[in-house]
Amino acid sequence: MANTSGNAYGLTTLCPIINGHSPTGSLTTSLLATKDSESHDKKIRRLLQSLPINEDSLFARTDNTYFARLFILNDVFFQQGNDFKRDQLKSKYLCFNSNFHGELEPYLTRMWNNNESLVREIWQHCVAFDRVNRAKDFVEYIKSCQVTTTLFFNGSNDKPVKEQLKALYVKQMFSEFVLTQQGKSATETKQNFKYFLQRVQLNNIESPSWKPGQSQIKVN
């Protein structure tokens, strides 16, 4: 299935946003009307653009996220000129796309469990999200917005994120370690290598390691 490449999963979703001037006057719409009558898509965008990033992102708290993005699709683009037909979307869409390790349902469940209030705050502006109350509902909701991937190019690997982060940490440390050992005796090198192993703890995937979304190189 093209949604996956080995253990890597590629999720593409288009979550329809409630139209700000919906003529149906749904309960959700009236509850969210503000004094300045800001439309739903503008609210979402403002929220998205102010979300904490990197190690503080909601996706840093959603284990096994390689890359994730949120953006609003206002409309499709008219290619200009007489040769092309003009389309216009009747709704705007919140696009939530993620590349992660593992299966979809556990991933979305984790996303809900670790970020419930933030997820609600973002998605409350989307059509029919009022029926989402639990993780299971969130999973079903996202699946109903999912678009199947046609071609998935994996230019990296499909290891769990923690393994990737640990490996990066070890690479950082080892590539520096080897520089300090040049010209040292066999005894010294072996002893120092043992100290190095104690420091980096190859078998402990949790720590020490890079943190998800870590934006600076820290010298440990």
């Binding site: 520096e176 080897v178 520089l179 300090t180 040049q182 010209g183």
Partner: protein, 531 residues
């Protein structure tokens, strides 16, 4: 792939000479660069009008009738370029100004963080002439370059220039603020080939032989013998000239289009962009570093230098030709033997020497994927990858697909080392100039992605050992890879050059537009009209 039958020759009389000619190679080992500010547009325009007839073009110099059949060359050459603020001061129409690319309009100073001009290389440490907040002197608007056969020729042309400026005191100001030898403040920057035994060499102050293998483009007028190693590498291993438009605006480039160029067409056609950088060389720091590291290195000092540069310092032979001290000794012996045979009139030796010398440029890294001969991070391998980024056969359209549009046409000469003893504190280095149709795509890309970063070489954040923006940390390093390709593996581990300090510091510079003669005349006469 171009499909025109016969390439029309370039109008070399319209193209400024420094674009097609590296004057050093043509017997002009001296240069003087000066910088101007335009105070009053009309007066500046008149000055430029008087200057035009003195500007050297790319014309092929005629061959003399005497038995030597040498080119009849002028005693000196003169070329000119403008910054964006210079073009504004000359009151180019707003629409033309807006059509220049962003890299040029911002200028080098504003883009210093992209180039690694940080710390000691950051603009606040540049020569006064490049500072923003100076009083009474003004911004750099134009660059003039005099290249001369000797210092007398330079002085002669410079005096003419000074006289011309005196005739336009309201229009043009020669800017001071260039740091010269012995802490002087000059209104010119002198440069010169390094002389040995009274003869100019291609050396620079670290002791490397420089300026080998400039790009060869269609119509440049150079001998076709110079194409191998300098053009673009084809799938069958042959070399072809690069498209003219990679270096000259108004001509088709490698992407089968006219490179983006300022409007109107007459302003940009046959012109180009130039990067000018004053690069100070910390000779003591460099020599001390090499001396210290050689103690741990299992090879000669020269080999260590070669492993950083990619070429042997004494004669510039690439490591692909001789990768060890023994191989270099054999190569040297071979060269000496050939020279003796040539002196004896042996014509076959002449041909043999020519073929051997061509290998200084005509080579690839195809047989050296591991970097065991020429380290992957060595200076010349970074700045001209020669097809080595195609790590799997036939992955790309052409082996050099990722480098053909990143080539740097280098001009310039060393400066300093003549009037004062050299140390880190004295004034010496290289005046580096790079010519190309796109500053961002060519110079800036190479500087940012291949000099101060190594992702394309799969070496993470490592930097160019010679010119990278190091700061002496342990991770400021260069890996000299062990040879894992050849059959003669010696089981040595890779060697690490660590804690590299900043050997080269930026001391100033900017981006310039080098107009054609046509455009120069139209600028001088205020005739640019983009409507």
């Amino acid at each position: 792939m171009t499909n025109i039958k016969n390439n029309r020759p370039l109008d070399l009389y319209d193209i400024q000479g420094n674009i097609c000619k590296g004057y050093g190679r043509f017997g002009f080992p001296k240069a003087r660069y000066c910088f101007f500010n335009f105070k009053h547009t009309r007066s500046a325009n008149t000055f430029l009008t008087h200057l035009i007839d003195r500007i050297t073009t790319s014309e092929t110099w005629p061959i003399s009738d005497d038995k030597d059949h040498q080119n009849i060359k002028p005693k000196s050459t003169l070329n000119i370029g403008f910054t964006y603020s210079g073009l504004k001061a000359l009151k180019l129409p707003e629409r033309s100004l807006k059509s220049f690319p962003v890299d040029f309009t911002m200028g080098m100073r504003a883009r210093s963080s992209l180039l690694g001009d940080t710390g000691i290389s950051s603009p606040e440490h540049w020569d006064d002439i490049w500072q923003d907040n100076k009083e009474g002197t003004g911004q750099v608007h134009a660059w003039l370059a005099i290249n001369g056969r000797d210092l007398d020729a330079i002085e002669l042309e410079f005096n003419i220039l000074e006289d011309l400026i005196k005739q336009h005191p309201d229009g043009v100001r020669l800017l001071p603020g260039l740091k010269g030898p012995n802490n002087t403040n000059l209104n010119y920057q002198d440069a010169s080939a390094v002389f040995e035994n009274g003869n100019p060499t291609a050396k620079e102050h670290f002791g490397f032989t420089d300026g080998i293998s400039n790009p060869y483009f269609e119509g440049c007028g150079n001998s076709k013998n110079r194409i191998p190693g300098r053009g673009k590498l084809m799938r069958d291993g042959s070399w072809q000239p690069l498209a003219t438009g990679e270096f000259i605006l108004g001509h088709i480039d490698e992407a089968q289009e006219y490179p983006p160029a300022p409007e109107p067409k007459l302003l940009s056609r046959n012109g180009t962009f130039m990067v000018y950088r004053k690069l100070h060389e910390n000779v003591d720091t460099f020599n001390n570093y090499i001396d210290e590291l050689t103690k741990d290195f299992s090879g000669s000092r020269d080999l260590l230098m070669a492993k950083m540069s990619g070429r042997w310092p004494d004669n510039g032979a690439p490591l692909t030709l001789a990768a060890t001290d023994d191989e270099k000794a054999c190569l040297d012996a071979r060269m000496i033997a050939l020279e003796l045979r040539v002196k004896d009139g042996d014509r076959s030796a002449l041909a043999e020497r020519k073929i051997l010398r061509s290998k200084w440029s005509d080579f690839t890294f195809a047989d050296d994927k591991s970097g065991g001969k020429c380290p992957i991070g060595a200076h010349i391998r970074r700045t001209n990858t020669r097809g080595s980024l195609e790590t799997e056969n036939e992955a790309f359209d052409r082996p050099g697909a990722l480098v053909d549009r990143r080539r740097l046409m280098r001009r310039g000469l060393p400066y300093g080392g003549i009037d004062e003893a050299m140390s880190d504190k004295s004034e010496q280095g290289i005046i580096f100039m790079s010519i190309g149709a796109s500053i961002e795509r060519q110079f800036e890309f190479v500087q940012q992605q291949w000099v101060n970063y190594s992702n394309d070489f799969k070496l993470g954040n490592d930097k160019d050992p010679l010119i990278g923006s190091h700061s002496g940390q342990i991770t400021d390093k260069h890996i000299i890879q062990a040879d894992t390709d050849s059959d003669l593996k010696d089981n040595k581990p890779p060697f690490f050059c660590t804690q590299m300090p900043r050997f080269v510091e930026t001391r100033g510079g900017d981006y310039f537009f080098i107009p054609s003669i046509t455009a120069l005349r139209m600028i001088a006469e205020g005739m640019i009209d983009p409507s």
